[in-house]
């Protein structure tokens, strides 16, 4: 059997991070094929439950990425998101989800290279932690 490949859910805002992901492709930057991208209008759309649902669905990790603070297309969505994530992080740890399993980042439309780097790092981090089992349905 082939080596275990982590599957990672990446929730990206349309205006910055999704565009950054496109730019990485256009610039032919290569990164591990483990992320499955879901496009949303803004990182402010992401609530803690959505991240938990992602883990529950069986993803080994979740990456949420939006515009840099101050650059959100909807003015302040990423600030709201940042506040929520600050609360969620310790909670996840409390219930036993390894801290690196859920990560947040800010990637702008011009940062294709950064997208590739972030994805590479997140993939490696999660590969190290191993498959998720904590919240997985039926595991």
């Amino acid at each position: 059997m082939s080596e275990w490949q982590p599957k990672i859910l990446a929730i990206l805002c349309n205006w910055c991070s999704y565009a950054g992901a496109d730019l990485a492709g256009v610039s032919r930057m290569q990164y591990p094929p483990n992320v499955r991208v879901v496009r949303i209008p803004c990182s402010g759309r992401v609530d803690p439950l959505m991240i938990l649902k992602g883990l529950q669905s069986g993803f080994d990790g979740v990456l949420v990425s939006g515009c840099h603070p101050g650059d959100c297309h909807y003015i302040s969505g990423n600030f709201v998101a940042r506040r929520r994530f600050a609360v969620l992080k310790p909670l996840l740890e409390f219930v036993g989800v390894e801290p690196d399993r859920v990560q947040f980042s800010w990637i702008s439309a011009g940062e294709g290279e950064r997208f590739a780097q972030v994805v590479t790092k997140v993939t490696e981090d999660i590969r190290k932690i191993g498959p998720a089992k904590r919240l997985v349905k039926g595991a």
Binding site: K7, V26, P33, V37, C42, Y74, R84, A109, G110
Partner: protein
């Protein structure tokens, strides 16, 4: 004047003509697009990839071609020429000749049977002779219109009276040998010429062995070889032996920068073209060794130098500064290049294949057009435009764009096209448009409550996707998913043919949702949404899976994993699609006023264009004076005085009753959205604050001279920048006579760490000032220390002139920069000793200079960052504003209603800035000339029964779009204000809010769609 016509005739349907047509049509102007060949598209469809992003040319063009074809305001006349123009601007009478097609376009279904059966093979001009086609044919696979045409000079029946095979084969009965040429009379307000350019034909260059040696090809032939849809399917092989080349050479400037053949201009695009081809070729052929033989690398555009760097460092392309003398084929079948290095030594090297980077030349047809239309051409046969009016011809009301008035790359062509439109509208009777009326003939199907019937289309995108991902496998897999009623793999999902196919399949299979797995929804979703809408489906019943930009391109070396990922992405798309519901779009009113930020050349030009079109403009300038950098420019290559021009411009702007100039203004805040912006200006120093309402924003904040102490700038009054030097030259008492030696140093701050870009105008500026100096004092010795001379386009001849004047050109490299020392440390006007290593003589040259002139870089103003934040638009790595798409949307931001131009975009010269400023105005007009646009349907909804009326959402919403009704105590969304970010949804404690198009349920079902638990947790 009511007598003006609201229509424009455009000659040439390449990218420039298409862009102009679309801009005009969006403003509600009737457009006649007159094209000589059987299809629109021009040169771009022949290209494989575009620099510097390696974007697929056809992929980015295709949506625009389709848009042109479907727009009710655009009438395409193929195989047509403009013959005659009479009358006055505002009301021209034009005669066009439409040549016979011999195929009835209404009956032809483009099945291709006729072409199969036609016995006559002819050269395929689209594939530059690398393939043959038939006498009846379709120009290329995605040509628009799709119908076939007969080449009357080659058809057996039409020439010899025998055959008629196609007539017998055609089941639609579309063949009509009796078809005749016909003249069509049209009345239009203005004319835009966009007839394009031709590649140079190197057939006369016997010493390069073109046509004698099969492995010597032109860059255009090579481009077709690289193209996935080209004659070799993207697999480059040598014509001599059918094997892959292992060693490849590019020879630059074939037919450019060559006085001997009357081509004393630079074709501007070939350096980048060769760099691109060498990169792409390396991607196709592993371990390919490729070398570029060149005089100067002219990578002067936005982000071009980074691309050049990438080619050299990352792809190992070898750059060889030399002149190639000739090519000889060795008995072993290799091509031996004889070339001379700078030093004068001759070398030989053998290659498998040689690409001649052919230049661009004026089309022969320009001559005829110039006579028929009475417009002037320049010395090289290009349409002539005067300085300061870059898009005008010599005839009033007739404008020019694209490469017809000089070599241009794609974005510059697009810019000039939009710019020409801004000029043309002055002669039109523009009327503000209402909302686009929905086509009543296609009523929207009611799908609510129906079981999802999903159609999945998986795109090959040539080899962009199919080269990595097993597209057929993905399409088949999609067929196994629940609710998928139809699946199919297609060559180019966005081609007009395929769009028609999608519509047909919706009909045939009664589909009520469509998923396309292709490129990115950011560029293509609107096109597909519109398509399904034409088939009667609500546009929001569409979903896209991005298997190119975020899959095949990002995982080129892992085809299997990329295929697995593609399947997952399709599966997620299908899951999303199941839950999609039809959504309604509400109109947003457009405030017809504009805000232009920056009162330099670009800002003033934009403001004037908008004001002339009848719109109120607020022009804000941070300084107390208008003019920006143009205030420092005193000379031009010709006699037109920039300061006189500037004075006139300022006068026009200041006196225009539709323009309010706000000097010394500082922006406090910008809020709002397309059509409804509010900008507040700071109060202070005797000024009151202001609040401006406007519908659009144009960013024209300019650039700044790079501040540096390099080369002892500031340490002596004899060490100055080019800007300072120009001012000195301009002053009456400038002691030119006392200058024996002047040293000019180029690229000060440019093209190096921290500023890895070319400032573009410094070479021409330095050449201009040097010539100006020579005019005053011809005996002065001018030394020119440079890295590459980048006098692109028609500036080349001034460079030649300066060289002929006896100027000493000394090339330096970044690791052996010139050294400047003060001769007398104690005085403030010390002369300077400059030491430059001369690679030609292979030793240091020491010059005691009376004046050292530094070509300092153009910087992005630091303030850009602040403004970018206020406008919510991005900057690139160099701090310059980042446009929506570097090739095809060069003056738009991704955010609707915000545009950019001039140095805020990247360094450029005056004419280029003006063209871009007009382009920004014209793009802005496409909105301002409408009373309303439609908002997105993806907005917030309240499930009233769950709402507790806590009003937390009120505090979250940045647009005050949600409020708790004080009586009913439930939240209510103001649908006109809601932007659909979803921040309130994620904050709602009761789960009473949801975001249409991105509902919680939809998201969760996407997450749940993949079979993660079972397969991946084995052995855990």
């Amino acid at each position: 004047m009511g007598s003006k016509r609201n229509s424009v005739l455009i000659v040439g349907a390449g990218i420039a003509g298409i862009q102009a047509a679309l801009d005009l049509a969006e403003m509600g102007v009737e457009v006649h697009l007159v094209e000589d060949t059987p299809t629109i598209g021009g040169r771009m469809p022949q290209l494989d990839k575009t620099f510097p992003t390696n974007d697929c040319s056809m992929c980015i063009l295709s949506p625009k071609m389709s848009e042109c074809a479907r727009h009710p305001g655009i009438q395409i006349h193929i195989l047509s020429n403009l013959k005659n123009v009479s009358g006055k601007p505002g009301r021209f009478k034009c005669t066009i000749l439409e040549r016979a097609k011999y195929v009835d376009p209404v009956k032809c279904v483009a099945c291709g049977l006729c072409e199969d059966k036609c016995p006559v093979k002819i050269e395929d001009t689209f594939d530059v002779g690398l393939r043959t086609r038939k006498a009846i044919s379709r120009y290329f696979l995605q040509s628009i219109p799709a119908e076939y045409t007969i080449d009357k000079d080659k058809c057996l029946y039409l020439t010899k009276g025998v055959c008629r095979i196609c007539e017998k084969t055609c089941e639609a009965g579309a063949i009509n040998y009796e078809d005749k040429d016909r003249e069509v009379e049209l009345e239009v307000g203005a004319i835009i010429l966009a007839a394009g350019i031709d590649p140079f034909d190197p057939i006369g260059f016997g010493h390069f062995g073109y046509h004698r040696y099969p492995d010597v090809v032109t860059s255009l032939e090579f481009e077709r070889m690289l193209s996935a849809s080209g004659p070799m399917g993207g697999h480059v092989v040598r014509a001599s032996n059918g094997k892959e080349p292992k060693k490849l050479a590019f020879i630059q400037c074939v037919g450019s920068r060559d006085e001997g053949i009357d081509r004393n201009y630079c074709s501007s695009a070939c350096c980048m073209f060769a760099i691109k081809q060498s990169i792409i070729a390396k991607e196709h052929i592993k371990d390919l060794d490729s070398s570029i033989f060149y005089m100067d690398i002219r990578a002067f555009g936005k982000d071009f130098d980074k691309y050049y760097e990438k080619a050299e460092k990352q792809y190992g392309v070898k750059f060889k500064r030399s002149k190639v003398a000739d090519i000889i084929e060795t008995p072993e079948g290799k091509l031996r290049l004889r070339y001379t290095l700078e030093k004068g030594t001759t070398q030989y090297e053998e290659f498998d294949m040689v690409v001649l980077s052919i230049g661009l030349q004026a089309r022969e047809a320009n001559q005829r057009l110039s006579e028929d239309l009475d417009i002037r051409l320049n010395e090289f046969g290009f349409c002539r435009s005067e300085r300061f009016s870059p898009l005008m011809t010599s005839r009033e009301g007739v404008f020019v764009c694209g490469a017809m008035n000089g070599p241009k790359d794609i974005p510059e062509s697009v810019v000039s096209a939009s710019g020409a439109v801004a000029n043309a509208v002055r002669f039109l009777d523009l009327e503000r448009q209402g909302l686009p009326t929905a086509d009543e003939s296609i009523p929207e199907k009611n799908v609510i409550g129906q079981r999802p019937r999903i159609g999945v289309f998986v795109c090959h995108c040539g080899i962009n996707i199919a080269g990595v991902v097993d597209v057929k496998d993905v399409a088949e897999y999609a067929g196994t998913l629940e609710n998928v009623e139809h699946t199919e793999d297609v060559m180019y999902a966005c081609s007009t043919d395929c769009l028609d196919t999608i519509k047909k399949r919706i009909e045939e299979h009664d589909l009520n949702r469509v998923v396309v797995a292709a490129c990115t929804p950011r560029t293509h979703e609107p096109l597909f949404r519109e398509t399904i809408n034409e088939a009667g489906l609500n546009p929001y019943l569409f979903e896209m899976a991005n298997i190119r930009d975020q899959c095949s391109w990002a995982h080129m070396d892992q085809p299997e994993l990329a295929t697995i990922k593609s399947k997952d992405l399709v599966e997620m798309g299908v899951a999303k699609s199941r839950g999609l519901q039809p959504l309604e779009r509400l109109p947003i009113e457009i405030d017809p006023k504009a805000l232009v930020i920056g009162g330099g050349l670009s800002g003033m030009t934009s403001a004037l264009s908008l004001a002339d079109a009848g719109h109120q403009v607020y022009l804000i300038e941070k300084e107390d004076e208008l003019g920006g950098n143009l205030r420092n420019i005193f000379f031009n290559f010709d006699d037109k005085d920039p300061q006189v021009f500037l004075g006139d411009l300022i006068k026009k702007v200041s006196r225009h009753k539709m323009i309010e100039v706000l000097k010394g203004a500082e922006i406090e805040d910008i809020s709002g959205y397309i059509g409804n912006y509010k900008t507040s200006l700071k109060a202070g120093s005797g000024k009151e604050g202001r609040l401006l309402d406007h519908g659009v924003v144009i960013v024209a904040t300019g650039g700044e001279e790079h501040k540096t102490e390099e080369y002892l700038l500031g340490k002596s009054s004899r060490i100055v920048t080019q800007v300072e030097f120009e001012r000195m030259l301009h002053e009456k008492d400038f002691p030119a006579g006392k200058l024996k030696n002047v040293v000019m140093i180029q690229c000060v701050g440019s093209r190096e760490e921290g500023r890895m870009y070319c400032s573009r105008i410094c070479c021409s500026k330095a050449v201009k000032n040097a010539l100006e100096l020579k005019k005053v004092k011809s005996k002065t010795n001018v030394y020119f220390a440079y890295r590459d001379i980048r006098t692109y386009g028609f500036s080349e001849k001034y460079y030649t002139e300066l060289r002929d004047e006896g100027t000493v050109f000394l090339r330096y490299t970044p690791d052996s920069k010139p050294v400047v020392e003060l001769i007398d440390e104690d005085v403030t006007d010390s002369r300077a000793r400059v030491t430059v290593f001369d690679p030609i003589m292979d030793r240091d040259v020491v010059i005691d200079a009376d004046l050292v002139v530094l070509a300092t870089a153009i910087d992005a103003p630091e303030k850009n960052e602040e403004l970018a934040k206020k406008l919510k638009v991005p900057l690139n790595a160099d701090g310059m504003f980042l446009e929506a798409h570097v090739k095809l949307r060069p003056v738009d931001f991704a955010t609707e209603g915000v545009f950019l131009c001039g140095l805020a975009h990247s360094p450029k010269d005056m004419d280029e800035s003006q063209a871009q400023a007009k382009a920004a105005a014209s793009r802005a007009l496409t909105f301002l000339n409408r009373k309303a646009v439609l908002a997105e349907g993806t907005i917030c909804q309240v499930m009233t029964d769950r709402c507790s009326g806590c009003s937390y959402c009120e505090s979250i919403c940045a647009y005050s779009a949600i409020e708790v009704d004080p009586e009913k105590l439930v939240a209510v969304v103001n649908e006109a204000l809601c932007k659909g970010c979803g921040a309130c949804v994620a904050s709602c404690r009761c789960g009473a809010l949801d975001l249409r198009g991105f509902t919680n349920q939809q998201m969760y079902s996407v997450f749940d769609s993949l079979d993660l638990v079972i397969t991946e947790k084995v052995g855990d």
